[in-house]
Every structure is written in structure tokens, then in C-alpha cells.
């Protein structure tokens, strides 16, 4: 079992990261919050030139890995554009993207998008989506819109796994960034005549956050392998990644905010923006307790082979 991303996928992720930086980097999110209608016009062509919309993550392992690397790069700049959701569009539906929704009160961060959307529940029930107009500014809504669903069929079992997994790669990219930011901050910020980073109490907090982030990364790669090799447990693996992603996000952002001090809650810092726009990824389609509930229900029934069983899943 090789769970590492291919060198090509890693290179592609790096390319996307640099392209988004050239297109505005941190300024993108700031622009989109005040001018939401510009999102598609800016992001679609930048990623389109890199072939993002031609990727078929369901088609081959290479493309799946490239898609994961792409989502991670998009998360790094927190561009608040539904890239993962576009990439995991269903192969069998006429739509531009797919979101996983809860059974009640469906919502997704696709507000203000003109694309055609489909939705799927964990049980594979698929619908066509009409997103309600955003009533609140992105500043408080983070582009989360209520969805009106027009039921289609129950054939979404093949769609849902990527719908759960790829957004976790976006969140992983956000955690990469949050750690980069806090690391740079504690190295630069001087108090008591030395950088904060010189205090062991600060180092320990940072290492706790990094351990969480690194653990998530390994699990996310494993789940990608699970999808790639069509393991029967791939949905359970994707849900396990989601649990790890939410928990890691809690720890990483908590540490990043505490070590930034008050400035971390002000929009002068990028952390404030990343933290705010991580919200929908952590809460939708459902938060930690419901994700755990869904995972444990399925695990009780079918087991969870996990990383160390040599891939002999049920």
C-alpha cells in the first residue's frame, strides 16, 4: 500500500498554489467577501488554465491525487470558492458540482454560484439543488446558503465518498496555512527580549497542533488510496478523515489564535480570515458529533479495516 501522492500530483498542487498567489493570494478572499460576484470570474479561469475542470477524479488514480492536491492548495489560500465541490461532480448527473447534505435543513457554501448543483446524502439519495439567495453578507454567512432539493434517485452511493473526502483536503490546506502563519508569527513576535518561539510552553502548543495536522494528512492520504483502490470501506474511511479533520481544525485554530493573541481576531491578520472561512467546512454537512455518529453506525455494522490491516477491508 503506497499512500503517498505521486510526484506529479505534488507538483500540480505546487503549481496551483503559485497560480493562486499570483492571482491575488490572500487578497482574493478579501475581494470576494466584499464583491462576491467576482469569485467565479477570477477563480474559474485561473484554475481552468491549469486544467482543473478537466480533471476526472473518478476516472483515474492520477487524477484523483491531482484533485486532492488541488483542493489542498485552494484551502491554503482559503479562496471561498467551491473547488472540491465542483471536482466531485457526479459522473451520472447533468450538473457542475456536488455537495453532500444532511437529511434535514440542507445547506452548503455554494451561495451566489450560477453553476448547476446536485446534492447527495450519506445514504446515496440524490437531488437537484436550488440554492436560496444569500440573505446575509459573506462576512457572516461565509457563502452558506440554504438549499431547496428536488429529489432524483437513490443511486448516489458512488458519488458520496468523494463528496465527503475532497472538502477534507481543502480543510487540510487551511490547516497547513494556519500552522505556517502561527509558526512565522511566534518566530517574529518578540516578548521578554526573545521570540515567543523560544518559550517551551509555546513550542509545545505548536507541536500539539502539528501532530494533529500531520495525523490528518496521513489519514487523508490513506482514504484517497482507499477510494483509488475501490476499497469497500472507502466511505467509512472518508468519514474517519472528516472526524480527524474537524478535530485537527479545532486544535490547530485554537493554538493559532491563542499564540497570535488578540491580533489573531482582527482582520489585519490572515489567520482571522482563514479561521472564519474554515467554518462551513467544519460544520457542513454536519459537525463532529453527527459525523462520529454516522461513522460509528457504519463501523458497528461493517467494521473499519484502517491503515494497518494491509488493506483487507470488509
Amino acid at each position: 500500500m503506497n499512500i503517498d501522492l505521486s510526484p506529479e500530483a505534488l507538483e500540480y498542487g505546487g503549481l496551483v498554489k503559485r497560480a493562486l498567489e499570483s492571482a491575488g493570494g490572500d487578497g482574493l478572499l478579501r475581494t470576494f467577501e466584499s464583491e462576491p460576484e467576482r469569485r467565479d470570474g477570477v477563480i474559474s479561469p485561473v484554475l481552468g488554465e491549469l486544467g482543473a475542470w478537466d480533471l476526472d477524479p473518478r476516472g483515474s488514480g492520477d487524477e484523483l491525487e491531482a484533485a486532492a492536491a488541488l483542493c489542498r492548495a485552494v484551502g491554503y489560500w482559503a479562496v471561498a470558492y467551491p473547488v472540491a465541490e465542483r471536482l466531485c461532480r457526479s459522473a451520472t448527473l447533468e450538473s457542475d458540482g456536488l455537495v453532500v447534505v444532511a437529511d434535514v435543513a440542507p445547506a452548503a457554501a455554494i451561495g451566489g454560484s450560477d453553476l448547476r448543483w446536485a446534492a447527495v446524502t450519506l445514504d446515496g439519495r440524490r437531488s437537484l439543488v436550488t440554492a436560496c439567495p444569500l440573505v446575509e453578507s459573506p462576512r457572516t454567512s461565509a457563502f452558506v446558503a440554504r438549499l431547496m432539493l428536488e429529489p432524483l434517485d437513490d443511486d448516489g452511493a458512488d458519488d458520496v465518498v468523494l463528496g465527503v473526502l475532497l472538502p477534507c483536503w481543502t480543510l487540510l490546506g487551511m490547516l497547513d496555512r494556519a500552522l505556517d502563519l502561527v509558526r512565522a508569527y511566534v518566530l517574529e513576535r518578540q516578548q521578554f527580549g526573545q521570540p515567543l518561539a523560544a518559550f517551551q510552553g509555546v513550542q509545545f502548543q505548536l507541536t500539539d497542533a502539528e501532530v494533529e495536522r500531520a495525523g490528518l494528512e496521513e489519514l487523508a492520504k490513506y482514504a484517497l488510496w482507499s477510494v483509488e483502490s475501490a476499497q469497500p470501506a472507502s466511505l467509512r474511511d472518508a468519514l474517519a478523515v472528516r472526524v480527524a479533520a474537524i478535530e485537527a481544525a479545532d486544535t490547530v485554530f485554537r493554538v493559532a489564535h491563542q499564540l497570535h493573541g488578540a491580533i489573531g481576531f482582527c482582520d489585519e491578520t490572515t489567520l482571522s480570515w482563514i479561521s472564519r472561512y474554515s467554518g462551513p467546512l467544519r460544520r457542513l454537512p454536519f459537525g463532529l458529533s453527527e459525523t462520529l455518529h454516522q461513522l460509528s453506525n457504519r463501523t458497528r455494522r461493517d467494521g473499519l479495516p484502517g491503515v494497518f490491516s494491509g488493506g483487507q477491508g470488509q
Partner: protein
């Protein structure tokens, strides 16, 4: 061991209850949601005035200045105000606690006579301590005050001043002896915010609010009579008054958390979610609630004991840090849990009534707000250092 406080003064409780029934404005939460700054200030002043008339605004002050309630009576007062969901005195907080305790401990008779009655009349104060490069390491502050005749001329910048845009006066720390070791060259001033050269710029927070501000001081003249405590003795004044004071402010916050915050949390857990299920029917939720209830009981006991020791002059060197650390991290966990319980609905309606406490039931904002407790006023890291060095006698790092 300290002696326990006297039993509940029941007649006093009945009096406060009756007063709350007739005075706590009904529907104030709705009325204070989304209001302008002017309406917020006006409401706060009016509520402060009502409490003052009843003798409840500054219960912890000495009798001669308008206070004089025993610790037991203060606890009853705070319990009943919380239980009746009374608005909090958020705007007067620095004035009635930090400014008053500083004036009482280190002020001259003239300074007390000038400011304590004015505070009772609604004078609003702000704390001007932190600077861009002096946060946890407060003693490295660089705002400079230079003596010129009968005045000091002050230049510098202060940061994270909560409520500065409303304040008439500021508790200011500034360096008066640049050559002295850093804790020994600082003086403590009372700064009139209307002085020429004072500029306040609100800072926009992640939540969209501007709860705190930067204060720019450009050749601001402070009369020498507004120095509090000895010149270059400001650090000692600030340390002595603020850490002791913390115990008294915590008394109110602990009772508020127990009687209002926890009630709000229970309400949230009893409310059916989108699927019609009540979180409280889940045993995991019950476990968490029981855990919080236990911790709140501990916090309240700790605060009560600290207040008694404060009154009798037996406060240990790290007691206030222990309480702040305990409260702040409990508040953070509780509001985080509230945000979990509130679910998606709680995350999409991000608005909180002004004049409410740290736990308002708008859990996501409450959770974000709870970080004001682990960062300002000495971060949790600083509190742990104080506890290690002063209480546990560990070597200085």
C-alpha cells in the same frame, strides 16, 4: 483555611428579588440586539443609574463611597441579578472595578473626591496598558511621559483598549524614566480622553464588531496632579491593585456563569434541533452538562473564598491567576459546547444582544468572545507562569 462567609442574608435576597422583579427591563435582549452605539451607551447609563439608586451599582466599594455590602450580600446580589437575567454593566466595568480600586488603593484624597462620585454619575473609563510591542511583556511598554513644568507630555500608542470610543478617562501606564530597569521606570496616570492629542481608532474584529480600539497619544499634556502613586512607581501600583481586584470582579462573573450562563446552556440543550431531537436526551450531552455544573460549583466556591480572603487581606500571590485561568478555560469550553449544541442554526445567525454577559446564548459569538479571557489581562500562558513561580515557587524561566 479561611472562615466561610456568613449564611445567606435571606431578607436581603428577598429585597433584591423584589427589586429585580420591578426594575429589570423586560425584553431588553431584543431591544439591545443590533442597536447603535448611542442606544447602547444610553441604555447602559440608564441601567447603571437604576442600580446606583438602589445601592447595587458598586456593592464592593467602601460604605463611605456608596458601597459597603458584605461578600455574602454581594454574592446574593450577583446571583439574583443573573437569575433575573439583568443586563450587565459592561460599559462601567473598568470604572467601577479597575479605576475605583486603583483610586482607593493609591489615589490622593483629591483624586478620589474628583473621580469616585463621577464614576457613580456614569463616568466611563478605559484601560491604556497594552501596546503593539508590549502585550504579555507589558513592562516593556514604550509610551513615554516627559515632565515639563506642572505637566507630563505623553507620546505613544496603546492597543486593545476595550470601550475606548466611549470613555471619558483612561488608566494610563507610561514610561517616565527610560534609563531605569523596565519595571522601575513606569508611572501610572489618569488621562482625560478629551485632552488634545488623543485619537481613538476602533479596530474591526473577525466578528465585525469593534469592541476594542487603538489609542494614539501625540504630545498629550497630563497635569502632574493626575499622576497616581509615586513617579516611576506605576508598575507596583498596577500590580497591587489589579491582581487583588481580579478576585472581586470574578465573584460577579462566576455567579453569572452559574445562574445565567448554565441556564442558557440548559435551555439550548432542551430545544429540539432540526430533526426534532433534544440534545439533553443524549447521555453524552448530559455527561458534559454534569461536568460543567461540577466545575461551576468549584469556580463559585473558589471565587467566594478569594473574595473573603481579599476582604481580610489574605490573598495569596497567585490566587487571582488561579481563578482567572479556571474561569477563562471553563468559559471557553462551555461556550464551545454551546456552539456545538446550537448546531448550524447557531452558526448562521451571528448576532448578540448588547449589554449581555460573556454567555449570552449567541454561542458562536460567545465562544469567540471567550478568547478575550485567555488572551487579554494576562494570557493563560502568563497566568501559568505566575502560578508556577509565585505559588509553586518554581524557578523563574
Amino acid at each position: 483555611m479561611t472562615s466561610p462567609p456568613p449564611p445567606d442574608p435571606e431578607p436581603f435576597r428577598a429585597e433584591v428579588r423584589e427589586w429585580c422583579r420591578t426594575h429589570v427591563p423586560t425584553g431588553w435582549r431584543d431591544a439591545q440586539t443590533g442597536v447603535s452605539d448611542e442606544e447602547f451607551v444610553s441604555f447602559q447609563k440608564q441601567w447603571f443609574g437604576e442600580l446606583r439608586e438602589a445601592g447595587y451599582a458598586v456593592p464592593h466599594w467602601p460604605l463611605a463611597w456608596g458601597g459597603g455590602l458584605s461578600v455574602g450580600e454581594q454574592i446574593v446580589l450577583y446571583q439574583e441579578l443573573a437569575a433575573h437575567d439583568a443586563p450587565r454593566l459592561v460599559l462601567a466595568f473598568v470604572a467601577i472595578h479597575h479605576a475605583a480600586s486603583t483610586l482607593l488603593a493609591a489615589g490622593t484624597d483629591e483624586q478620589r473626591a474628583r473621580h469616585l462620585p463621577a464614576i457613580l454619575d456614569g463616568e466611563i473609563w478605559v484601560q491604556g496598558f497594552s501596546e503593539p510591542d508590549a502585550g504579555s511583556d507589558l513592562a516593556s511598554l514604550r509610551t513615554a511621559a516627559r515632565r515639563e513644568g506642572d505637566a507630563y507630555v505623553v507620546n505613544g500608542q496603546k492597543l486593545w483598549a476595550s470601550g475606548a470610543k466611549y470613555a471619558g478617562w483612561c488608566l494610563l501606564l507610561a514610561r517616565t524614566d527610560p534609563g531605569a530597569p523596565k519595571r522601575h521606570g513606569i508611572s501610572y496616570f489618569l488621562l482625560d480622553m478629551r485632552s488634545q492629542g488623543v485619537e481613538v481608532r476602533p479596530i474591526r474584529q473577525a466578528t465585525g464588531e469593534s469592541h476594542f480600539s487603538e489609542i494614539f497619544l501625540n504630545d498629550v499634556e497630563i497635569p502632574a496632579t493626575h499622576l497616581i502613586g509615586p513617579e516611576n512607581g506605576g508598575w507596583q501600583v498596577a500590580q497591587a491593585t489589579l491582581s487583588a481586584e481580579r478576585g472581586m470582579t470574578m465573584l460577579e462573573l462566576a455567579e453569572r456563569l452559574g445562574h445565567a450562563g448554565f441556564t442558557w446552556l440548559l435551555d439550548a440543550c432542551r430545544r429540539p434541533n432540526a430533526e426534532g431531537l433534544r440534545p439533553i436526551d443524549d447521555s453524552l450531552v448530559l455527561d458534559r452538562l454534569a461536568g460543567f455544573e461540577t466545575e461551576i460549583a468549584g469556580l463559585r466556591a473558589m471565587c467566594r473564598s478569594l473574595a473573603v480572603r481579599h476582604e481580610t487581606g489574605h490573598v495569596g500571590p497567585a490566587d487571582a491567576s488561579v481563578v482567572k485561568l479556571y474561569y477563562s478555560e471553563l468559559l471557553q469550553r462551555m461556550t464551545n459546547f454551546g456552539a456545538d449544541v446550537a448546531g448550524l442554526a447557531g452558526s448562521t445567525r451571528i448576532i448578540k444582544p448588547m449589554s449581555s454577559g460573556w454567555e449570552s446564548g449567541a454561542w458562536v459569538l460567545d465562544f469567540i468572545g471567550s478568547w478575550e479571557w485567555t488572551i487579554p489581562g494576562g494570557t493563560s500562558e502568563i497566568q501559568r507562569t505566575i502560578i508556577a513561580e509565585r505559588a509553586l515557587q518554581m524557578p523563574r524561566a
